[in-house]
């Protein structure tokens, strides 16, 4: 990876990365994929987030669903760990708590495949600085 040499470089890089993300998020990218983020902070891992993440990686592949599974930090819902966020192309992301392997299976079958919500989704209860 080449070094970022100036602020201008950095900004250009940001634009590129941002637009890639935007395309994906707005679902305008024809190749847009399902995104699954697993909260993998200590508390999440302690409650089994690693197993859940592995399950998604394996099962989505097995069930031929084109998806990106990534890890992220603490979402703040410690009471409901492990938590994950699922984003279907062109839709708002949904956070789901108390995810174990069984729940993960339900999420894949119901929400990811058919867009049916499942019990245990956690409404986003905070404002972000993006809309400030």
């Amino acid at each position: 990876m080449a070094k970022v040499k100036s602020l201008a470089d950095l900004k250009k890089m940001k634009e590129q990365l941002q637009s890639k993300v935007d395309l994906r998020e707005k679902g305008e990218d024809p190749e847009s994929r399902v995104q699954v983020k697993v909260a993998m902070a200590t508390c999440g891992i302690a409650s089994g987030a690693k197993t859940v993440m592995d399950y998604f990686l394996e099962e989505l592949d097995k069930r031929s669903i084109d998806a990106v599974v990534t890890q992220t930090g603490c979402m703040g819902y410690c009471y409901a760990e492990p938590t994950i966020e699922v984003k279907l192309p062109g839709q708002e992301p949904v956070v789901i708590g108390y995810v174990d392997v069984k729940k993960a299976d339900e999420i894949i079958e119901k929400y990811i495949k058919n867009g049916e919500l499942v019990d245990g989704i956690i409404p986003m209860n905070y404002n972000t600085i993006d809309n400030q």
Binding site: G73, G76, Y77, N125, Y126
Partner: protein
């Protein structure tokens, strides 16, 4: 279509289960059960107006719904497509109904600044950070210059998030004015409060923001070296921070000539080894130097003579995490958030007897009530709220009467607690406040470095006094001693640890004096937590003589014939509580 029914404990208590049932049956009656799904969700964080029902995809947000309202919602909204206006949220300002919850962001009590990227980006991928404006702030600082950046920091009103609340910009300015051949930037990531994990979450979720902020700090004060003093007990945070440092180096965002500015900055990790006192900056510096982490008298402050005797600026993780945003969005934007003397937001680790244990971030000035009842979803198991402890072992216990106090540095201090690093532990009616004070003193006794006598011996004596009281051996004189000793320890200890360690005692003495009195004069623990003061008694009326208690008693203290009421021999009873748990008839109680 989806109908989301809040399944948070608060809403559940007000019949959200019934709402789900009626909604389902109404839909079934209309033959729409396959088109519209009813989903039970987690807490919306708006318990005050619960139960909540939200209809997707149009984001209609109904408040204070009763089971009786279900039919109307289905009939009107689902079938006819007309919103039920009377159930919509009413803006208290203009009395307008708001139908689309997208337009009612204001109900959300939380604002994520320090946690902006936590749970959003992959912390192990620098690209995701850059895509969210990462490292733009350092570029901006290079353009505006160190002096202007320090001005921004001062104007923003940001105060240290580690506990003391010292103005960050001022701290930087002092460090920038001390001349030396080498200066240091230190990030205090030795989060030691039991029950606090804000810093850890930030480092695990957004390590680059800390790296960027430290670089900004370095540029502003003229330091080329950064050190992160991090708890060795945080392996994941260490790993992610190390990955982030390596990636930043690879991109040239750490190292020589960052972004072509000519400014060099690099950083390394130093590990803590389990000493709470190392959260104090002079102790932290000694620890980084390979010494016992004993604090030294200030002045000299680290800004003058810190790590290896060089000017050093120490800030904690959360403070740093705020900085890139302040630079990018400007001091005015930041200072518009929060209260008069405390700007911005504060992250709290909300835990204890509360439904929504979690990591939250609220604007300064939010009340404890909002945090506990809205965001936290109220007290677990429908128990009664008793106290909330903020500031960890250095803080105090606040009560009912403080619930509407806006949270900021000065208010908490005035109320006898402190901001601390952000632990917030909620306690209910079952918690004995004398025991809680004892718990914190036990911690302080173990964590005192032993250097100064008030802290080394005084806290031990406080603990012993509290122990006597919880055993029912205390006297009224002990209560006076407790107060005098607490005040002297606070007044005369060397460092912040001793100067704050009596706070849990003083605040409980102030707010729960009755409970102390009960322990001393009646030899009773009103909360029923102090073992020595408890007696287990079998209610002779309720006992059916099932023998479950007697069979499970580990010391055979329970006697009684089958199908006849049993009796506990209190001289043998070890008060383990096994009998209470086994009794299916609620016949055993603590007196």
């Amino acid at each position: 279509m989806h109908m989301l029914v809040c399944g948070g404990t608060g809403c559940r208590a007000s019949a959200s289960d019934a709402i789900v049932e009626t909604l389902k049956s109404e839909l079934a009656a209309k033959g729409m059960e396959n088109e519209v799904q009813v989903i039970m969700t987690g807490c919306f964080g708006f318990c005050e107006k619960g139960p909540i029902v939200k209809v997707l995809p149009d984001n209609t947000f109904y408040t204070q719904v009763t089971p009786a309202d279900s039919a109307e919602i289905v009939a009107e909204h689902i079938v006819k497509g007309r919103k039920v206006n009377r159930l919509l949220y009413t803006d208290p300002e203009n009395k307008q109904h708001i139908s689309d919850s997208k337009h009612m962001g204001f109900y959300k009590k939380q604002l994520r600044i320090a946690l902006r990227n936590c749970g959003v980006i992959n912390p192990e991928n620098i690209d995701e950070y850059i895509a969210r404006d990462g490292y733009q702030a350092i570029g901006k600082v290079f353009e505006m210059g160190a002096q202007a950046a320090i001005e921004q920091m001062k104007k923003s009103g940001l105060r240290g998030r580690g506990g003391g609340g010292f103005p960050t910009g001022l701290k930087w300015e002092i460090a920038s004015k001390n001349h030396a051949d080498q200066k240091y930037v230190v990030c205090n990531a030795d989060e030691g409060d039991p029950g606090a994990f804000m810093d850890r979450s930030i480092l695990e979720g957004d390590p680059h923001s800390v790296i960027e902020a430290m670089t900004i700090n370095g540029f502003c004060i003229g330091a080329t070296k950064g050190l992160v003093y991090i708890r060795a007990e945080y392996p994941l945070a260490i790993k992610r921070l190390q990955i982030a440092i390596d990636q930043a180096r690879e991109y040239g965002l750490l190292g020589k000539d960052i972004l072509g500015s000519g400014f060099d900055f690099d950083m390394e990790l130093r590990y803590g080894a389990g000493a709470f006192v190392c959260g104090e900056e002079t102790a932290l510096i000694h620890s980084m130097e390979g010494e016992r982490g004993e604090p030294t008298v200030k002045p000299p402050f680290p800004a003058e003579s810190g790590y290896l005797g060089k000017p050093t600026n120490v800030n904690n993780v959360e403070t740093f995490a705020n900085i890139p945003v302040i630079i990018l969005k400007g001091a005015e934007w930041f200072s518009a958030i929060g209260s008069e003397k405390s700007k911005g937001t504060k992250v709290f680790a909300l835990a204890g007897k509360i439904n929504n244990v979690g990591l939250i971030e609220v604007p300064m000035g939010t009340t404890l009530r909002e945090v506990i009842y809205e965001i936290g979803g109220g007290i677990k198991n429908g128990k009664k709220f008793k106290a909330v402890q903020t500031g960890g072992p250095s803080g105090g216990c606040l009560t009912e009467k403080h619930l509407d106090t806006p949270i900021d540095y000065d208010n908490l201090l005035a109320a006898g607690s402190m901001m601390g690093s952000g632990g917030m532990i909620v306690m209910d009616e079952d918690d004995c406040m004398v025991s809680v004070a004892k718990f914190y003193l036990d911690f302080t006794v173990e964590e005192s470095c032993g250097k100064c006598s008030p802290c080394r011996i005084g806290n031990k004596r406080l603990f012993e006094l509290l122990e006597r009281i919880t055993k029912g051996e205390g006297t009224m004189e002990d209560l006076d001693r407790l107060r005098n000793l607490s005040e002297v320890i606070k007044d005369s200890s060397l460092c912040g640890l001793g100067q704050t360690s009596p706070n849990p005692v003083l605040s409980t003495l102030d707010n729960f004096y009755d409970e102390y009195i009960a322990h001393v004069t009646e030899r009773k623990c009103p909360a029923g937590q102090c073992k020595s003061l408890m007696q287990y008694v079998v209610d002779q009326e309720a006992c059916v003589g099932c023998t479950a208690c007697a069979r499970n008693c580990p010391v055979n203290a329970i006697a009684g014939d089958r199908k006849k009421p049993h009796v506990i021999d209190t001289s043998i009873c070890i008060k383990c509580g096994a009998c209470i748990e086994k009794c299916k008839f609620n016949a055993i109680s603590i007196q």
